[in-house]
Symmetry: none
Subunit: 427 residues, 2 copies
């Protein structure tokens, strides 16, 4: 893959309309918008479905062909001169955490539509088609695991394994998925695992690195490894007042002791940038005056170095084994580190560099993603990369999630150049 200095890529970059971009971000944020400024738009909820209808209208107004695949991933296609060639894909996900912000995912989807609008304004046609995607269930908060849509797109055999996931109201993912597909009868179905020439995802950093460095754009070199576990401590429900301490099998006392040891392990591996989160807890029966009979909690552990995760998992399995039958352990998600290809990084460096230079700002920096993204799976399927913009105070998955509007503008400029250049590549 070579990088001709692309005139049309520069034109596309310069045609990005910041005012339109900011208002598009605000408009999508009204779906699930909260008084505190956050957004609650978990995947396949009625709010998510409403936002999908809105995006379809926007894409059609821009002249795009709209398609959906078997995992309800939405594709908005702008034709190229040679439509038989595999398209260039950009975009992100439309869903949020139970309490999320305006940008995580949404920014990348809106950016894709802004690029199509800019190409239309500038009268630029590209060799290859360009498609903007809105992936289903990236967050994984309502139905686990996350990145269902993108992982199923690159390997459709995964979909069957997702259908029986249930949310806290016992709603099945498969049923929610069918309802979403039924809600857009007019949208034609497209194949999963279709050939793509390349994929670029624009996203907020969700961490403090770019802000601390005072640099507006990051060229993402890779994504750290992650593993998810469910730890279940089995005890015996009993009356809080009548059961002596030495007669108890208190599932919460066991869970607290185990959790304390896991935090201790993480503290001794800080240098390795190990990151540990015990985020979701379910206590049964969850009553003030009843000794917990069962406590289940999730373990999210991440590191750039997969061998550190191997050591963590061995430690965790050792603790469970020491507890005999009273602790059960399930690893329900695992992902090795992702490394994006050099030619893609060079192209993004050029695109982002031009945007920063024009704004008189510091050049983009290479950065690693601590979060996993849909691009992580697309990297298994076609040349893929990501662009990051800073997150204020490194905050995301939070109503306070925010990015300087000018940084958001620069990010879309860099994406426009990259996508247009890729869409004009013969091979």
């Amino acid at each position: 893959m070579n990088q001709p200095l692309s005139r049309s890529a520069e034109q596309a970059q310069d045609a990005i309309d910041n005012e339109r971009l900011q208002s598009s971000i605000a408009a999508l944020a009204t779906f699930g918008g909260r008084p505190d400024g956050g957004v609650s738009r978990e995947t396949l909820t009625s709010i998510d479905l409403a936002s999908r209808h809105y995006l379809i209208e926007q894409a059609r107004a821009l002249g795009c062909e709209v398609m959906v695949d078997d995992c309800a991933n939405l594709f908005f296609r702008r034709a190229g001169r040679r439509n038989e060639l595999p398209p260039v894909l950009t975009g992100s996900h439309g869903d949020t955490q139970p309490v999320g912000g305006k940008l995580d995912g949404a920014y990348g989807v809106v950016a894709g539509l802004e690029i199509i609008a800019a190409l239309n304004d500038a009268g630029i046609d590209t060799l290859r088609p360009i498609e903007v995607v809105a992936w289903t269930n990236e967050e994984g908060s309502r139905f686990g695991p996350g990145t269902m849509g993108s992982s199923a797109f690159v390997d459709p055999s995964r979909l069957a394994g997702y259908l029986d996931a249930v949310d806290q109201s016992r709603v099945r993912f498969g049923d929610a998925l069918q309802a979403a597909l039924d809600s857009i009868p007019g949208v034609p179905r497209c194949e999963m695992q279709r050939p793509l020439s390349a994929c670029v995802e624009l996203h907020i950093e969700q961490g403090p690195v770019l802000e601390r460095a005072g640099i507006p754009l990051g060229v993402v070199t890779g994504i750290q490894a992650v593993r998810w576990f469910t730890v279940t401590c089995h005890g015996a429900m009993a009356h809080a007042g009548t059961t002596p301490m030495d007669e108890r099998r208190d599932a919460m006392a066991a869970a607290v002791s185990l959790a304390q040891k896991l935090y201790g392990f993480a503290a001794t591996h800080a240098a390795d940038q190990l990151r540990l989160t015990l985020g979701r807890w379910q206590v049964s029966p969850n009553s003030v005056n009843t000794i917990p009979g069962q406590v289940e909690f999730t373990v999210d552990v991440r590191c750039l170095d997969d061998s550190v995760l191997d050591r963590f998992e061995a430690f965790l399995r050792g603790l469970a084994a020491d507890a005999g039958g009273s602790v059960s352990l399930e690893r329900f998600f695992q992902r090795a580190p992702t490394h994006f290809p050099r030619p893609m990084l060079d192209l993004i460096q050029a695109a982002a560099g031009r945007a920063c230079a024009q704004a008189g700002l510091p050049a983009p920096m290479p950065i690693t993603s601590g979060a996993f993204h849909d691009a992580m799976y697309l990297a298994d399927h076609c040349p893929t990369a990501m662009i990051f913009v800073p997150s204020k105070n490194g905050i995301s998955h939070n109503a306070a999630e925010a990015t300087d509007p000018h940084d958001l503008f620069l990010g879309v400029q860099a994406l426009a150049y990259t996508v247009t250049a890729l869409a004009n590549q013969e091979t």
Copy 2:
């Protein structure tokens, strides 16, 4: 209060009819009986009202006068030689948890009626009247708080505060109470806070202590003090993958560390019979890949020695203070310990000792109640005490609640002796 060796008390004890007792327990258990052997008879439900009509018929058949007070507590009175003297009260509550057993409460009520039947059979008349009570809403599962009937009886000013409690169907306690009173128009009203000469409650232990000791009867020396707290750890929600460990304010890490210290305190005070339960947890946002921004958990701590609870509370408040603003603490319930008077304990020891000796079983042991009982409030009003029988595997509030029938028989024998002796005391 002196304890003359009472011939009639021995006669009453020996007149208890085990077959009649067991069939009476089975008969009351048909009101709300479940296929799994449990009983669902929450307070003031149609099932509870039907069981009250049944008890009224049984009491009248035994020649008792039936009375009801303003909290629908039912009293079955057997006349004495001097009816102007304050009566001796026994009994318990007729209601159960949503899923309870045949014995919790019901056993004490049936036992009272069995004693009256035995006194009738043996032709024994007593100096004082004897009354059997069925208290309203001891469990507190349908309308909170529990022990409404007994606490209102000893302090009628409490009743007004209970009337607006609502169940999950938004039914008001005050309305359910009026319906219960209206359903027994022929039953005369009696005064709350009436003088009583003494009160004795027979109950299942609901714990494993007697069974573990292999002893059929327990002389309850008192009821543990209890304090309930809510501990709230405040952190910052953030992304599990992108936030370095040294930049986190993880509410769960704080809660786990705090909980571990509390369990540690309890471990060092086991000798004081401190009982600690961290039973109800609420984690926000409770998502696998989001650092918890807030964790709230309840603390139920109990001990017969209130000074130990003072030290525990000081320790807990110290931990909260050390955490600065990041931990907040609320004590939302407190009850001082109940110590039953020595003369009552001595009388029960004699009565229970005779029953055990006749059966060739080990002598009764002193025991502390970890659970609340109506007797806890009666102790504020008159000389009060309790007798415990073992609970199989310490289980209650559960369909599996059970006690060896012979232990149930011995408990009623001990109660018969105690009540009869008290009913013959001049002062």
